[in-house]
């Protein structure tokens, strides 16, 4: 019985050492995998993605054809880390956070227009994310409001499917936002 316990203890300690070595062997995080110039290029790309996200939101809010609106909705959801991410309630001037799917419901058929300005990416980069901050002009008819927003960008390696094949690639997704 005692031998069994000793063997188990040895097995656990050996496997924990092996696991620890595996983690150390592959470099982790954005900074360990990309040069400074590459990170800047990916940050610039993340700014284009945010611009595209708001272009889709404008199209979605103005589109009267339900089929096309559904297509635009699926484009929007493919850009974010989850459809439940918290975003600002642009229909309210108070700082309220709501689910993205809830926001989409609120702006549907409401003819909102979203325009971004003064976008920049943070120099501070965490293991797999950074923040982009920007000014967002939200217009409806002649009324508009301008909000200062920060939004998380997740950039991490994941096994992506290309039909029957799959491949480890670095994937970028827009994440939660908050008001500055």
């Amino acid at each position: 019985m005692n031998w069994k316990k000793i063997n188990m203890a040895i097995l656990i300690s050996v496997s924990s050492i092996v696991c620890a070595q595996n983690i150390e062997a592959s470099p982790q995080g954005i900074k360990a995998n990309f040069s400074e110039k590459s990170i800047l290029a990916y940050q610039e790309n993340s700014q284009h993605k945010i611009a595209e996200f708001y272009e889709y939101l404008t199209l979605y809010s103005n589109e009267k054809n339900p089929e096309l609106r559904k297509q635009i909705q699926s484009n929007i959801l493919s850009m974010v880390s989850s459809k439940e991410i918290e975003v600002l309630d642009f229909t309210d001037s108070a700082t309220n956070l709501i689910d993205l799917s809830e926001l989409l419901e609120k702006i549907k058929n409401q003819d909102y227009k979203f325009e971004i300005d003064e976008m920049e990416s943070s120099e501070n980069i965490s293991l797999y994310e950074w923040e982009n901050s920007y000014q967002l002009k939200i217009s409806k008819g002649e009324n508009f409001q301008i909000r200062s927003i920060s939004q998380c960008i997740i950039f991490e390696p994941l096994e992506k499917k290309f039909g029957k094949k799959s491949k480890l690639v670095w994937e970028m997704k827009l994440d939660e936002m908050f008001e500055d």
Partner: protein, 300 residues
């Protein structure tokens, strides 16, 4: 060395480079296994940050003989893998080595050659040379047109090279026209939107027609379109894109890349935005069912 011979030499060099990474491999292209192919693809991805499909290797590297020279961008990738900056440097350096060997043969032949015969050969050449020197050079303007629409092609959609003893010299395209110094030059036309074409320019040639690569032009039209006709775009994309499609969008200055699968790429073209319009197709590959399996795109 002609281009085919150069390509065969490149294939040998690729195997040598592969052996540097996998010294236990001692075979040739004939017995290059599917495992070797996967390892070669991985090497190219890690070392050059370029992507090569398994199908491409089967089509162009595995066969003993190649009827057609592969696309230039693929030749560039493998020339890099073999230790050269690109295909042009590879061709230049190999021909340089060959031309250094030629004089030795010529010296041997010279001894056998009758001196009187030399005289007979030299005089007409000299006369011809003087005649050509006196004659003013005929410059020639040629317009490049789409074979289907008969309209001039867009200048930024096409690249033209002058071919001279295996050397490719770029020719400037201005308003769909090229200016050639000699009216008997051989040119090569390359474009992601049109089929590659080699033309020996004749005196009467004032227009060259290039045949559109259907899929590339279809995708370009989709990239530049607006929201209208989104359903027909969706249907067409469903037909022409393979389920296994892999799209690589190269970021500015090739500092990074984004990978899209069929669903993501189709979404982009079904609802195009101002960001979609910044995409330029560099090349694409199709499978035996005429479906697009790979697209390389540059973000402008």
């Amino acid at each position: 060395m002609n281009e085919q011979e150069l390509f065969q030499e490149l294939k040998k060099r690729i195997l040598e480079s592969y052996r540097n990474h996998y010294p236990y491999f001692s075979g040739n292209w004939k017995n290059f296994s599917s495992k070797d192919i996967r390892q070669l693809i991985e090497l190219i991805e890690t070392e050059l940050r370029e992507s090569v499909s398994e199908k491409w290797i089967y089509t162009h590297l595995k066969p003993e003989k190649n009827e057609k020279l592969p696309r230039k961008d693929m030749l560039d990738i493998f020339a890099c893998f073999a230790g050269f900056s690109d295909w042009n440097e590879f061709s230049f350096k190999l021909n340089e080595v060959e031309s250094e060997e030629i004089p030795i043969q010529k010296v041997e032949n010279k001894k056998k050659f009758n001196k009187k015969l030399w005289f007979l050969v030299l005089i007409p050449i000299l006369i011809l040379g003087i005649y050509r020197f006196i004659q003013p050079k005929k410059s020639k303007t040629v317009t490049l047109k789409n074979e289907f629409t008969k309209k001039p092609v867009q200048t930024d959609e096409i690249k033209v090279y002058k071919l001279n003893e295996n050397q490719k010299t770029p020719v400037e395209v201005v308003e769909s026209k090229i200016e050639l110094e000699d009216s008997n030059e051989k040119i090569l036309i390359e474009s992601p939107y049109f089929e590659q074409k080699e033309v020996q320019i004749s005196d009467s040639e004032e227009e060259i027609f290039v045949k559109p690569e259907d899929y590339a032009l279809v995708l370009k039209t989709f990239i530049d379109s607006d929201l209208s006709d989104w359903t027909s775009r969706k249907e067409k994309l469903e037909k022409i894109l393979s389920e296994d499609l892999e799209v690589i969008i190269l970021l500015k200055e090739n500092l990074g890349a984004e990978y899209l699968n069929k669903e993501e790429f189709a979404q982009k073209l079904i609802v195009p935005t101002s960001e979609t319009k910044k995409l330029k197709i560099l090349n694409l590959e199709t499978n035996e069912n005429k479906e697009i399996t790979f697209i390389r795109i540059q973000q402008l």
